[in-house]
C-alpha cells in the first residue's frame, strides 16, 4: 500500500513544477464560477424565489449550488481515459503489467495524487473566493456527512466510468471522442450547470435511468437539504447499485481486453 501512495506523491510533485499552470487554472475556475453565479442572479433577481418540485429555490441556494458544482468538477476531472488510450497505443501498458502492482490501483492512486493537488491548489482557493464574493449556505451536520459520503460514491462512479471508456481503447483506435462524449453527457444529465429541478419532465425521466446525476446533483441536493432522509437512503442504494454494475462491466472488459492485447515491439 505504501508504494501506491508513492505514485500519488509523484504526480503531486510533478504537477508542482509548472507554477504558471496552477495560477492559470485557478483563474479559469474562478472565471467560470462568475459566469454561473451571474446567470443565476440575473434570472432569480427578476423573479424572486422560484417554486419547483423540490421546494422554493432562492438565489443564495443557487449560488451555493454553483460553488459546490464547480468544486466537484475540480476534484472529479481526470485524464484516466486519455491515459488508458496512450498506454495501450504506445504499448507502455505491457511494462506496467509486468510490474508487481495492480494496474487499476496504480491509476487510482495517480488520480488520488492529482486530486490532492487540485484540492490544495484549485479547490481551496476557488471555494475561498466563492465564499468571500458570494457567500455559501452551511448545511446541518447530518446533511454534511451524507453529502461527503454520497460525493465519495459519486467520485467512485466517475472513476469506474472513465476506466470503462478508457479500456475500450483495447478495441478502438482512439477514445478521445468518448472522453468528450462522457463530458457532454455529464454537462447535461448530471446537473453540473442546471439543477434537475429546473429540467423539463422528459429530461428528468431520462436522467433517472443514467448514473450521472448521482455524481453531481444528488450530493448537492443533500447538501442543500432538498431531500428527505428516506430519499437519502434511496440515493445511497442507487449509488451502490451503480457502483456494483459498473464494477462488473469494468472487470469483464479488463479480462477480455488483456487477452486481446497485442503489443508490437516496445
Amino acid at each position: 500500500m505504501i508504494y501506491y501512495l508513492q505514485f500519488a506523491k509523484n504526480v503531486f510533485q510533478s504537477k508542482l513544477a509548472y507554477r504558471m499552470n496552477v495560477f492559470l487554472s485557478i483563474l479559469h475556475r474562478i472565471a467560470s464560477l462568475f459566469v454561473e453565479v451571474s446567470i443565476w442572479s440575473a434570472i432569480i433577481s427578476q423573479t424572486g424565489k422560484i417554486s419547483t418540485v423540490m421546494g422554493m429555490i432562492g438565489l443564495k441556494e443557487m449560488v451555493t449550488y454553483a460553488i459546490l458544482s464547480t468544486g466537484i468538477s475540480i476534484i472529479i476531472s481526470s485524464n484516466t481515459i486519455l491515459e488508458f488510450e496512450n498506454k495501450i497505443r504506445t504499448g507502455q501498458i505491457a511494462m506496467d503489467l509486468i510490474k508487481p502492482m495492480k494496474f487499476k490501483l496504480y491509476l487510482f492512486f495517480e488520480n488520488l495524487g492529482n486530486n490532492l493537488f487540485k484540492i490544495t491548489f484549485e479547490l481551496i482557493p476557488v471555494v475561498i473566493v466563492g465564499i468571500l464574493c458570494f457567500g455559501i449556505d452551511i448545511p446541518s451536520k447530518e446533511n454534511a456527512f451524507f453529502f461527503f459520503l454520497t460525493l465519495i460514491n459519486g467520485m467512485i462512479i466517475y472513476f469506474i466510468l472513465t476506466c470503462i471508456l478508457g479500456q475500450l481503447s483495447f478495441w478502438l483506435l482512439t477514445v478521445w471522442h468518448l472522453d468528450k462524449l462522457l463530458n457532454d453527457m455529464l454537462k447535461i444529465f448530471s446537473g453540473r450547470f442546471i439543477p434537475l429541478w429546473f429540467f423539463p419532465k422528459i429530461f428528468i425521466t431520462i436522467s433517472a435511468f443514467l448514473p450521472f446525476r448521482l455524481i453531481y446533483f444528488s450530493p448537492m441536493s443533500i447538501y442543500l437539504e432538498k431531500v428527505s432522509s428516506i430519499e437519502v437512503g434511496n440515493i445511497l442504494i442507487q449509488q451502490i447499485g451503480w457502483i456494483l454494475i459498473l464494477f462488473i462491466i469494468d472487470m469483464i472488459l479488463w479480462k477480455k481486453g488483456i487477452k486481446k492485447l497485442v503489443v508490437q515491439g516496445g
Binding site: 504558471m20 492559470l24 462568475f34 440575473a42 429546473f198
Partner: protein, 267 residues
C-alpha cells in the same frame, strides 16, 4: 497572393491525408456538433423554464451564441492547431525549422496545419443561424447583410487574436498553452449570455481588457434593436471590425516578441 495559393495547396494535402481515415474524419466533425448541440440544449432548458434573461429571449440568445460559435469555428480552422502545436515545437527546438525557411514563420506555421474539426462548428452554427432567422423579426437589407459579413470578419479576427496570443505564451512559459486555451474557453463562456447580466467590473473587463464583448454582444445589440441600457457608448455596436483589426495587429506584435525571445534547445 503567393501564400494564399500555398495555403490552398497545404489544405488539399492535409485533407487528402485525413480522408485516408474516413470514419475518424467524420467522427471528428460530428463530435463538436454533438458537443455544442448540448450547449444549445442547456440554453434551451434555462430559457424554457424562465422565458428570458434580462430581456433577452431564447432566439436572441441563440443569435448571440451563434455569432460566437461561427467566428470561433472560422478562427479555429486557421489558427487553433498551429498555435497549440507551438508548445511542443518550442520545447523540442523544432521551431528552428520555421526560422530557416524563406518564408514568414508566422505564415508558414499557419499554412502548415489546418484543423478540420472546426468544420463541425461552422456547420452547426450555420444551421442554428438559419433556424434563428426564421424566428427573429429582423428586417434584412443589403446593407445589413454586408454589415453582418464585416461583423463576422471582425469577430473572427478577435477570436484568432486570442488564439495567437495564448499560443505565443509558449515562447515564454513551457507547457502553458493547454491551460491557457482552457482559460480562453472559460472566457468564451462569458459571452454565451448577454454581458449585460454581469456586474460593472466584468463589463469593463470584457469590453476594454479582453474585448470579448465585441465578438457577439455589441453587434447583436445592433441586429436585434436592443435599447442601450449599458454604461457604454452606443457606437460600440459598430466597433467590432475595428477592434478585430487592432487586436489582431497586437497579437502579431506579441508573436514577434515571442519569436525574438525564442532560444533553441539545440537538439
Amino acid at each position: 497572393m503567393k501564400s494564399l495559393t500555398l495555403y490552398l495547396k497545404f489544405i488539399s494535402i492535409y485533407l487528402k491525408c485525413r480522408l485516408e481515415y474516413r470514419v475518424a474524419f467524420i467522427l471528428d466533425i460530428l463530435m463538436p456538433i454533438f458537443s455544442y448541440s448540448i450547449n444549445y440544449l442547456t440554453i434551451w432548458i434555462i430559457l424554457n423554464r424562465f422565458s428570458s434573461i434580462r430581456g433577452w429571449d431564447f432566439n436572441q440568445i441563440m443569435f448571440l451564441y451563434t455569432i460566437n460559435l461561427f467566428s470561433y469555428g472560422l478562427a479555429g480552422i486557421i489558427f487553433y492547431t498551429p498555435m497549440r502545436s507551438l508548445d511542443s515545437l518550442v520545447k523540442k527546438g523544432d521551431f528552428d525549422m520555421f526560422l530557416t525557411k524563406p518564408m514568414n514563420p508566422f505564415l508558414h506555421l499557419i499554412n502548415r496545419q489546418f484543423e478540420h474539426i472546426f468544420i463541425g462548428h461552422l456547420i452547426l452554427s450555420s444551421i442554428v443561424f438559419l433556424i434563428c432567422l426564421g424566428n427573429l423579426n429582423i428586417t434584412w437589407s443589403v446593407l445589413k447583410v454586408i454589415w453582418l459579413i464585416f461583423v463576422l470578419f471582425g469577430a473572427t479576427l478577435i477570436q484568432g487574436a486570442f488564439m495567437i496570443i495564448t499560443g505565443s505564451l509558449s515562447f515564454f512559459y513551457t507547457n502553458s498553452t493547454s491551460v491557457a486555451s482552457s482559460i480562453l474557453n472559460s472566457l468564451r463562456g462569458f459571452i454565451d449570455y448577454p454581458i449585460s447580466i454581469y456586474n460593472k467590473g466584468l463589463k469593463i473587463l470584457l469590453t476594454f481588457i479582453l474585448p470579448y464583448g465585441f465578438i457577439s454582444f455589441y453587434p447583436s445589440k445592433y441586429f436585434l434593436n436592443k435599447s442601450n441600457d449599458e454604461i457604454f457608448h452606443y457606437l460600440f455596436q459598430y466597433a467590432t471590425p475595428i477592434v478585430g483589426i487592432l487586436l489582431f495587429i497586437l497579437s502579431y506584435k506579441v508573436w514577434l516578441l515571442g519569436v525574438n525571445n525564442y532560444k533553441s534547445t539545440g537538439s
